[in-house]
Structures are given as C-alpha cells and as structure tokens.
Amino acid sequence: MPRTTRRQALVTIAAGLSARSLARPQDYAPTVLTAEEHDILGFLVDTILPETETPGAREVGVHSMIDEDLQTDSSSLVLLRDGLEELREAGFADMDSPERTRLLTRYSEADGTQREFFDVVKGLTIDAYYSTEVGLVQELGYQGNTYLQEFVGCTHDHEIGNGA
C-alpha cells in the first residue's frame, strides 16, 4: 500500500469533508458563472491563497463555493463578470504562476475597478477558504465550537514590554 503524504491526506480531507457533495471539486458544474469564468476564477483564487503546507483555494473548491454563493447573493456578480472577462482577454488561464502574480500585483496596486475587483475576490476567497475544514482547522489551527468543562484562558506570562 503506497504511503500517504501529509499533503495527500489533507487533500483527501478537503474532498471528503469540506466539500462532501463536491466529491471531486474539479468536477463541480457552475450554476451562475460560465464554465470558463469558473475556471479562470479557480486560477485567481489559487493565486490569492495558493498551495503551501496546506492545499490552495482552488483545490478545496473556493471558486465553486463562490459560484454557489452567487445563487443567493449576486451583488458582486457584474463586477466579477467584468473582471473575469478582462482576465480572459489577458490570457490569465495560460499564464504561469509568476506571471499571474505580477498581473494581480498590478491589480492590487491599481485605482478604480481593477482594485475593486481584486478586493472583492480577495474578500470572497478569504471568507470561503477559511470556512472550510482545511482553511480553518488545518491551516489556522481552529479548535473552537466544542464542549469544554472549563475555560482555562491564558496561562502564559505575557508582558507588553518585550514584544516577543
């Protein structure tokens, strides 16, 4: 039996727990965005929160979660569509990772709609990614919302002076 790496294990958790009905996130069929928009969004969210020790945003299906949420809240849809169209024209899907980063850096430093588009997608990505078990538990170490006999609180000897 092949050994399971930590990363593979986390991906399995991502597929199995975070997105149970999306047994394989890559198979998700978008309902609001077009397939092409959904693909580009996948590369975009993965540029914002890429794979590190833990899976990236695309792998846990953040772009699909955004599409899913657009069904009930479409307030950002026009902005998203226009921005994704601009990325399509720029060939975002075919860029390599450094190229994507360079382009997104320009967006994040721009004024007007490019910056607005970046901020909106970043916000949606953060909300979705850190609501998954991978993002919240594996990445951040969240342990909350459980039954405790007592709340121990801070047990350290914190001082404001040493800054360490």
């Binding site: 914002i48 890429p50 994040s108 078990e133 951040l140 609180g153 350290h156």
Partner: protein, 543 residues
C-alpha cells in the same frame, strides 16, 4: 372568545417576559400576544461548524431565521442618505434568543446627569430606587462578573464567577492600565456555574446562534416557562398586534391584532394593556392607535411618542498584539464575546467638550471561526497566507459605544408610509447624529489609539471618524419616554401612561436616554418595578 385575563401583554422578549413572569407570580391572569412563533432550541445550529453549515445548506437545511419575520411582515423606511439598521426578532423571547448578554447596571451618573446638563428631560427614577431591582434580576437570571465597581459602573453582590481571560485580553488590560484606563471583568448574563438548577455554559462560543441548553438568560427559558407553570399565562403566537383600542373615556380597552397564519382580523378586550414589543414596534403600534379620544395616537397628547429616538453609535478597530504572533492557535471561545470591558471613565476636564460619554467593548479577541480580519491585510499569495496564519491568534478588537443625546427630530413615524399586508401603516425612521456626538468621536478614537499604542499593538487599516451604521448597536430608546412632566413625557416613572392609566409601556422605548451601556439588564429591572406597581394598583383597584 371569553376574556377573563387581568392583563394583556404585547410581546414576549425581555420586557414582556418579565411582565408576564412577575404578574403571574403575583396571581394575575395574563394573556401574551406574540407576533412570531417559538424557536425550537433543538433546531439551533449551536454546534454546526462553518464547513458543516455549508454542507447542510447544500442539503436544503437552514437554521432558524431569527430576524427575517419583521422585515417581511413589517418593513421600515429610512430617509435618503440617513440609513438606520433596525434589527428585530419576532418570535417567542424576541431578541433574548440571540442577544449579546452584556449586563451592565446604569449608574447614578447615568440617571442624574440629564437633570444636571439639561438634555433633554430628567430621569424620573434614581439609582437607589432601581438598585434593589438590579439585585433581584441578577439573582434571578445569573450574571457573571467581577467586583470592580466604579462611579460609572455600580456593582453587584450577586455575580457568578467571571470567566478566565484570553491572551489578547491579558495584554489589553496591561496596555489600557498603563495608558491610565481601568478595565473590568465583563458582566454578562451567562451561567459560569450551575444556577437555580440550570446547567452552566460549556464554552462552545456559538451564543449568537441561540443556546441549545439555555445557559444564558433568555425569556422563554428563564421567565415564560415559570409563568406558564403557574397556569395563569396564555401565550398566543402568530398574533401581530396593530392597535391598542380605547373606550369613550380614552382608557385602553383591548387590542386589535391579525392572525399571521390565517390573516384573520381579531380584537381582544383587556382591562389593562402592557406594551413590550421592543422600542420601535411598541411605538409604531401606539402611533397607529388613533381615535377621537387620542387623535395623535394613544397617550400622545404631548406629541412626544415617536420622537427622541436615541441609540448609541459605535465603531470597530482591529489590531494585532505582536506578542502573540505565530503562537499555536488556542480555543478562545470562552463565553463568546468579551470577558473584559472598559467602562466610562473620568477624563481631564479640558478634554471634555461634549456631554455624557462612552465605554469600550472588547469582543472578538483571539482565535475565531473565520479570518475576516485578513481582508484588511495587504497582499496575497503564499506570504500573505502565512501572515494570516501567524496573525490569527494575535487578533484584538476594540468597539467603543457612545451615548447619543435625545433629539426631537430623531423619530419613528407612521404618516404616509406604505401599509403592511393587513393595511396597517409601517414605519419610517429618521435618525442622525448631532454636534455632541461629532465632538465625542475624536476623543473615542484618541483613547483607542492610546491603548493600542500603549500595548504596542499593530492596528489594521482604519479611517479615523468612521462609524458603524447607525442602529447597529440595537439599543433603541426614547420614543415613549418616561418623566415627571406630562407635557414632555408619555409615561410616569412606573412606565404608566400619563394620559391612559391602564396602559403601561415597559420596553426600552420608555428610557429617556440610552446611556453608553447595553440596556437589557435595565429593561428587566424596570419592567419588574413597573409590574410590581401595576400589581399594587390592581390590588387597590386603582387600575
């Protein structure tokens, strides 16, 4: 339907629940009309994790929609450019199902300063008069806290143990004290040990979704259940009260309401009516209750009902305590919300060019169930993701709440508004801040910055002067205020209408000022005192 009730109560939240509890206890037969339905604690998503919530929604499940009903049945308008967020819960227990549980006594300063500074009318009740009721309420519902009292925050001998502090709170206390600001244990209506047979909090941190075991005060578990057990309470759900009816002399004679499910238009007679539908909705009903005896709305010959709406204003500053960067995440849920509080304080005289003051709430400290703070951090990519993880345990937040003076132009009204589906006029809310608040805001930012600087915190970007949406504190007051002078107030100090002695209004609308504090503890104390008075009046045959 035969009616043999002694008292009819409109609403079942903190005020209505207390009125029903106290009156049934004293032998009165009570009918409570509630616009919504009972929320089933078994349906609360108290222990549903964020990723499980998404999965449940995919399966078509939803948690109780606490705030949906009033927006659907009775929407409200605001003036162009002056938004006001009105958050209401229609349903048994009202907002106590999901409230913030902060339980701070108003102090002698809060009660006496309107008479001293002349803005706008004096409170008709002193701290000494209400203090025994604060004692009673705290003993009844269970409030955790410390014994760290001050002139601005009188204390209690009845506090349950205060919860331990999170790391960020320990650092905030040190920083605030170094900067010269006192920090107290939070006072919250959460059971930190078993209290009157109720199980204590298990620190799951999900109070805002409703507590499945009732470990924080809520009207259904703590008041209505006891009232029901007396056999003298009838609770009628789905009853949307539209009008208080009156007889030819102008005395209250009953109410008109609509059955929310059948749409049926009904009236029920009553010897005494107690309004407890929350500040804004009670006021709406009173203003809609026009008759030849009360052409301006029942009890409103003085034209004060609907006016002097006062809430608090607040803002939020987020920062990181660098001492906590990169630490292992911990379970920081505690009793959910702040375990500490910075009460109003004495400032150097020259710095006070405004009346009243503010306190600072400190919730959202430490590891939470989201990373919303990261939206304010610069950048993206692997480095950003790493920075988010390192910052996550270091998050601190400060939330100052400032008192808003009562202004005549801040009001709720029903003139020319669209009707609801039963033909009853809905609300319009007009609300804006004045000069006094504009002077307080810079001082609030100064204090926040002093404390952050003192603890070496690194703030996330914010704009000085920025405020949360008005109304967001959910502490509406003033629109049916009590006072000694019948020309300037609608109720006397026992919350009895000057013009209609068998009509009482026991919710937050009766408070002439909002103070800088959260009102539920005070609403409970005043409703208890008012219904003690009503029961006495009934016994002597006065009403």
């Amino acid at each position: 339907m035969a009616n043999d009730h002694d008292v009819l109560i409109v609403g079942s939240g903190a005020a209505g629940g207390m009125a029903a509890w106290n009156l049934t206890r004293k032998g009165a037969k009570v009918l409570v009309l509630e616009a919504g339905e009972r929320f089933d604690p078994a349906s609360f998503w108290s222990h549903v994790k964020p990723w499980e919530a998404r999965e449940r929604r995919r399966q078509g499940e939803e948690p109780p929609a606490f705030e949906e009903l009033p927006l659907r049945e009775s929407p409200y308008q605001t003036l162009e450019g002056h938004s006001f967020l009105l958050r209401r819960v229609w349903g048994v227990g009202g907002k106590t199902n999901i409230w913030g549980r902060v339980s701070l006594r108003y102090g002698d300063v809060n009660f006496s300063e309107p008479a001293i500074d002349g803005w706008e009318i004096p409170w008709p009740v002193t701290y000494d008069q209400i203090a025994p009721y604060y004692d009673n309420v705290e003993k009844l519902i269970g409030v955790c806290g410390g014994d760290d009292d001050s002139r601005f925050l009188p204390g209690s001998k009845h506090h349950l143990p205060a919860p331990n502090q999170r790391c960020g709170e320990v650092l905030l206390i040190k920083g605030a004290e170094k900067a010269g600001y006192g920090v107290v244990r939070g006072r919250r209506a959460v059971l930190t040990r078993e209290h009157r047979g109720r199980a204590p909090c298990h620190y799951c941190g999900a109070c805002g979704r409703g507590c499945d075991i009732g470990a924080f005060f809520n009207s259904p578990d703590y008041l209505l259940a006891d009232a029901m057990a007396t056999g003298r309470l009838e609770l009628r759900e789905n009853s949307i009260v539209s009008h208080v009816l009156c007889d030819e002399e102008g005395m209250a004679s009953g109410v008109r309401y609509f059955d929310r499910l059948s749409g049926e238009d009904r009236t029920v007679a009553a010897k005494r009516v107690v309004m407890a539908a929350s500040a804004v909705d009670s006021t709406r009903i009173l203003l809609n209750s026009k008759s030849s005896a009360h052409p301006n709305g029942i009890g409103n010959g003085s034209d004060v009902i609907g006016r002097y709406l006062c809430e608090q204003f607040r803002f939020h500053v987020y920062a990181f305590a660098p001492q906590l960067y990169g630490r292992a995440a911990s379970n920081d849920d505690g009793i959910s919300g702040g375990h500490i509080y910075i009460p109003r304080f004495e400032g150097p005289e020259q710095e006070r060019d405004y009346l009243r003051g503010f306190g600072i709430q400190l919730w959202g400290i430490g590891c939470g169930n989201n990373a919303g703070f990261a939206k304010r951090m610069e950048g993206f990519g692997a480095g950003f993701k790493d920075a988010v993880r390192r910052s996550y345990p270091a998050l601190i937040q400060m939330h100052p709440y400032g008192e808003v003076l009562p202004y005549r132009h801040n009001r709720v009204s029903v003139e020319g508004t669209p009707p609801d589906r039963f033909g009853v006029p809905t609300l319009r809310i007009e609300y804006r801040l004045g000069e006094n608040e504009r002077r307080m805001i810079p001082r609030m930012y100064d204090v926040v910055e002093e404390i952050l600087h003192s603890m070496r915190a690194e703030p996330l970007p914010y704009q000085r002067g920025e405020l949360d949406e008005l109304g967001a504190a959910i502490h509406e007051h003033g629109t049916c205020r009590m006072g000694e002078d019948p020309k300037r107030s609608a109720l006397n100090g026992f919350m009895q209408m000057h013009e209609v002695p068998n009509l009482f209004v026991v919710d937050g609308s009766a408070f002439p000022t909002p103070t800088e504090k959260n009102p539920t503890l005070s609403i409970l104390a005043f409703a208890w005192r008012s219904t003690d008075f009503l029961a006495d009046q009934m016994r002597t045959g006065e009403v």
